[in-house]
Structure formats: C-alpha cells, structure tokens
C-alpha cells in the first residue's frame, strides 16, 4: 500500500488501489511468473501501475516538485514480526544503498519516476532538464541499479 499512497498522497485512494490490485491478482494469477521478481514484486508492480493510471487519469500530476519532495514517508500501521522486520530491513538497506550509490541527478530522476509516478516529460517540465537528458538519466540509473542489485536477484 505504501507505493500507492506515496504516488497518490491519499489514504482512501491508496486503499482503493489495494482492493483493485488484489482483485487483479486473483484474475491474473495464472500469469504469475516467479522468475520475474517474486510475488511481492508482482503485487507492487501491479499496485504501482494502477496508482499511476489513476494519478494520470485524475490529472493530479500537477503537483510541484517541492510538494513531491516534501511529502513525509509513510509509516506502518502495525509492527512486523522480528523475522519479517529483519528481512525487510536487509532488503530496504540494500535498495537504499543502491539508490545512494547513484549520482544525485540520476537518483532524483528515479525518485520522481518510480516513487512519485511522474513521466519523463513531466520530470523534464518540472526540473527544467531537457527531455533527452531525463531519458538518459533513467536509462543509466536503471542500468546501474541492475548491477548494484545483481546479488539480490540471484
């Protein structure tokens, strides 16, 4: 739910997305391919796509960069088990380290694209960078993340 809330900035809408995501999972269960990142990853991918679709259809993407960057991180409503907590912390730290290893402008581009659901055109308009530069940053950042998170995939 965190990704939907982060993108939509609204608890009720994020909960709607959670519902839609689980219904879609139910209907598309035969299409699940575990080699492409596991079940949680699949759920996150579906939830994120749904949230972005809603964001763009509602034209709420008119947020300013400051708004986007200033939104506080969401917090869990219930405590995880110790094992869950440890696994989560490990994954979180690996991803955080990988993101931190990116050059600042690439990291910012990925934050705006992935965590805030902005398109490359929107990123270009909001940051004032040429569209070609934004495209190149996305490409380079994903390439680097792929290398940095390689061990995690295996």
């Amino acid at each position: 739910m965190a990704i939907a809330r982060r993108i939509l900035r609204n608890v009720e809408e994020a909960e709607d997305i959670v519902q839609e995501t689980f219904l879609e999972l139910w209907r598309r269960a035969p299409q699940f391919d575990g080699r492409r990142g596991g079940l949680v990853a699949w759920i996150v991918t579906i939830a994120r796509s749904r949230a972005i679709d809603r964001l763009r259809s509602c034209s709420t993407a008119g947020r300013t960069i400051d708004e986007v960057m200033a939104t506080p991180e969401v917090h869990p409503s219930g405590p995880p088990s110790p094992v869950e907590h440890t696994e989560r912390r490990l994954t979180e730290s690996k991803v955080a380290e990988a993101l931190a290893a990116l050059p600042p402008e690439q990291r910012r581009t990925i934050q705006l694209a992935y965590f805030d659901g902005l398109s490359q055109t929107e990123i270009s308009a909001k940051t004032g960078c040429p569209l070609g530069t934004v495209k190149m940053r996305v490409k380079l950042a994903v390439g680097k993340l792929k290398t940095l998170l390689k061990d995690d995939f295996s």
């Binding site: 739910m1 990142g37 949680v40 409503s77 690996k94 694209a113 965590f115 490409k139 994903v142 993340l145």
Partner: protein, 127 residues
C-alpha cells in the same frame, strides 16, 4: 526505452506503442530481455518504502468482492483445457484398470481352482 516503459515513465502514446510492439511476434532485438531486466530492478525498488497496512475494512471488502467474483469467474482457456485433459486421463486410467481386472478375473479363477485342486491332492496324499 525499456527502463522508462517498466517505470511507467513514458507518455501514454509511447507506452501503448511499446505494449503493442512487445505483444507482436515481430523480431525483437533484445526488447523482451531489456524489459525483464528493468522489471527486476523496478520490483526491488518498492522495497525502499516503509510498508504500510491498509485498514481491516479493506480486507473485508476484498474478501466480499472475491466471493462475488468466484461466483461469476470462468477459467482461462489454457487452465480449462488442461483440467479437461487431466479428467480425460483419469477416466482412461480407470477404464484401463477395469479392463485389466476383467481380463484377468477368469484366469485368476482358473488359477485358484487349479491351486485348490492341487491343495486337495496334497491333502489327500497326507491322509
């Protein structure tokens, strides 16, 4: 373009063009591999956020809607076809077992009779 496609960072027009291209059987020069690699990265990025649980009401609504869905759900073609094949195989195996049993039954009876006859001879020899 694959990373932007996977991150849903393309504009609608580009995005649908990519989706259509990936769905075609036209020669792909590493497109699908590039998309798969980017998907792996995107799948991991979600882990950077602090997880958050939706309210219990959301789970209740999901359960109710799934229940409704189950009533009207139809199986996807491939699953239905495979399930039909399993049923057919099951019936064929059952029919084969019945056939083998019926074929062997008279032989078993003759073998039993022969054994009983032999047993009778042994018994009479003992007396």
């Amino acid at each position: 373009m694959a990373p932007a496609y996977v991150l849903v960072a393309l504009d609608d027009q580009e995005r649908s063009a990519c989706t259509q291209h990936l769905a075609t059987r036209a020669p792909h020069h590493g497109c699908r591999e590039a998309v798969a690699a980017a998907e792996m990265v995107a799948a991991r990025l979600g882990a950077a956020l602090i997880p958050q649980r939706p309210s219990p009401q959301v789970w209740r609504e999901i359960a109710a809607r799934l229940q409704e869905d189950r009533g009207t759900a139809t199986l996807p073609d491939e699953v239905a076809r495979r399930r039909g094949l399993y049923h057919l195989c099951g019936w064929l195996v059952a029919a084969a077992l019945v056939g083998v049993y019926l074929y062997n039954a008279p032989l078993d009876r003759r073998a039993l009779q022969a054994k009983i006859g032999l047993g009778g001879q042994v018994a009479s020899a003992g007396h």
